[in-house]
């Protein structure tokens, strides 16, 4: 499909660069990328104010300006926006949450791979005690990355799995616990209560934990992603987003709305089904993907 790059070039070349055309084009790109109307209007209004298209003669320069403006809006003076809260000399706990099928379990495998390559001692915790094949799925990932693995029997209480895993971690010098949880829709009260309990148990057993609670969001998700972020955040403070399946045709723009409305940054991006298909979020690259 046409990229804004192509259209902007075209507009400039025919000398008919009308900022209205350009910004209408941008609006359409954002809406079709699932950014949503509210955030799109905010972004485009800001861009209209700060970009004087009369003085711009190259589409490359214009693109640079757009990205610069959007980056400022994204970062919001938050210097540590991209960091993962892992420190030496403590047991770090990363909790992965989200609705069904978004890629939590697979992402844990990928993050484990990254941390193990950095020399950390990692343990995967099978907190999904409900879904068919869930524990086995995580066990296979732990074998692939050669990490420790903790599980109880299927059907056991996930909070007690966390409790037992933390006890084990304290006795075995583990650096990072990557905790998997069952997929759950945010409107299911009982499942959100279960997550609340998981969070409290982790916090009680390790001070300051979970150090990261990552909401895993599927790039194909539409406006419901905002409701997911809001309700999950009420139950356990979401410190970052993992945007998965960005190797598909969806752009995952809802994460920009989540950042804009709730201040939650994107920490990782999933680009496939293999261990190496994980990257730290790079805003410029992400925008290029959206526009291209």
């Amino acid at each position: 499909r046409d990229s804004i790059f192509g259209n902007v070039k075209e507009l400039l070349e025919t000398k008919s660069l009308d900022s209205d055309d350009l910004f209408d084009e941008l609006e359409e790109i954002f809406i079709m990328a699932d950014v949503g109307v509210n955030t799109t209007v905010k972004f485009v209004d800001q861009l209209r104010k700060n970009i004087k298209t009369k003085k711009i003669t190259s589409s490359d320069l214009l693109m640079e300006l757009i990205i610069e403006e959007m980056y400022t809006m994204y970062v919001k003076d938050d210097i540590a926006v991209n960091e993962i809260n892992i420190e030496d000399n403590r047991i770090n706990v990363l909790l992965f949450v989200g609705v069904n099928g978004v890629g939590k379990t697979t992402t844990i495998g990928k993050v484990a791979n990254e941390l193990i390559q950095q020399g950390k001692k990692v343990m995967l915790v099978a907190g999904d005690t409900f879904r068919a094949g869930a524990i086995e799925q995580l066990r296979i990932w732990s074998e692939r990355v050669n990490s420790e693995f903790y599980c109880n029997e299927e059907g056991s209480d996930p909070s007690s799995v966390m409790f037992d895993a933390i006890k084990y971690a304290k006795e075995h010098d583990i650096d990072v616990l990557l905790c998997d949880t069952a997929g759950r829709l945010q409107n299911k009260k009982n499942l959100m209560n279960e997550l609340d309990k998981i969070n409290r148990v982790i916090n009680r057993e390790i001070e300051g934990a979970p150090h990261e609670t990552l909401l895993v969001v599927d790039a194909t998700t539409g406006q419901n992603g905002l409701s997911q972020a809001k309700i999950f955040n009420e139950v356990t403070t979401i410190t970052g987003i993992v945007l998965t399946k960005l190797d598909g045709t969806a752009k995952g723009g809802i994460v920009l709305a989540i950042r804009e409305e709730m201040g939650i940054p994107i920490k990782y991006v999933g680009l496939g089904e293999k261990l190496e298909d994980l990257e730290r979020f790079d805003f410029e690259e992400y925008l290029f993907g959206m526009f291209g």
Binding site: G133, Q137, A219, T221, G222, N224, G248
Partner: protein
């Protein structure tokens, strides 16, 4: 919801006696916003709203008593018209083996729905289903299907992860014949519609199997991308119907409208939960009112 928003935008107008085209346009803006929030595809929203506006101008809304309500009715009727008035049924063979293929993106709910479908059709049509495990890629996918099969007492045919899916499919059909199964439901690996090799794999399986149903499993919270996915699967493979999953969530489900309007794929079933008995026949009017909000 739309009705409230239209009432609010009309509050600025009442007292003047009759509506102008400008007022109708203002109402169409609310319709557009509402549908975009519901994840209806941007291009579908444009054509849909244009259509509604024509009807609103044509009807005597301009002199009407309650223009907001009338517009809501036009929108609702138009949604209903597109969604259809009842779900098309699944194709079941009167004699011989009925074959169904589950296809779709990663994580949409294919494996779970395959189990639900087996349970549903065994009950409703008194069939003897066989589940076939063709996902040789995802860790523990076969385990997942085997567990589901044992939970509902349905046979699962699998040959582990070291065989090619097409070979497993052929062996599965031989087994189905000797085992007396008259319904074969094939679970495939999730894949992107832009992954040529993986889409080719599906085409090969379909050409061999000649299934009565190729069911596209779509997550109901899918946003603007629903059209790309539906077109991709339908153009490359050919889809006979869709199953919308996770409708027990609170998403508005506008992807359903896009599926119907752009690719005319018939939505046959809806997944209403994680348990294997949570599958329902698609209800177009319920979907229309859900999208309306």
């Amino acid at each position: 919801n739309l009705s409230d928003r239209l009432q609010m935008s009309l509050r600025r107008v009442t007292g003047r006696g009759r509506l102008t085209e400008k007022d109708i346009e203002e109402m169409m803006r609310e319709v557009r916003l509402s549908l975009l929030e519901a994840d209806v595809n941007f291009k579908v929203v444009k054509s849909f709203t244009k259509n509604v506006k024509e009807q609103a101008m044509g009807e005597k809304i301009l002199k009407g008593l309650n223009p907001g309500q009338q517009v809501v009715k036009i929108v609702s009727d138009e949604l209903q018209r597109i969604m259809g008035d009842k779900a098309e049924p699944l194709t079941i063979n009167a004699i011989g083996i009925t074959k169904m293929m589950m296809v779709g993106l990663q994580g949409a709910g294919k494996t779970t729905t395959a189990g639900k479908l087996a349970l549903h059709l065994r009950k409703q049509n008194n069939l003897k289903p066989l589940l076939v495990a063709l996902d040789v890629y995802r860790p523990a996918a076969i385990e997942q299907l085997k567990t589901i099969g044992s939970q509902i007492g349905v046979d699962v045919f699998e040959m582990g992860t070291k065989e090619k899916p097409l070979n497993i499919m052929k062996q599965a059909m031989e087994f189905a014949v000797s085992n007396g199964n008259n319904l074969v439901i094939v679970d495939t690996a999730g894949r992107l519609q832009i992954d040529e090799d993986m889409m080719n794999e599906l085409v090969e399986i379909k050409n061999y199997l000649k299934p009565e149903e190729v069911l596209l499993t779509v997550d109901s919270m899918t946003g603007q991308d629903a059209v790309n996915v539906a077109e991709g699967f339908n153009n490359t493979l050919g889809v006979t119907g869709a199953i919308l999953t996770k409708l027990d969530g609170d998403t508005r489900g506008g992807a359903a409208l896009s599926l119907k309007e752009v690719t005319n794929i018939s939505i046959k079933l809806m997944g209403m939960g994680e348990k294997l008995d949570q599958l329902e026949v698609f209800h177009p009017e319920r979907m229309a009112s859900r999208i309306l909000g």
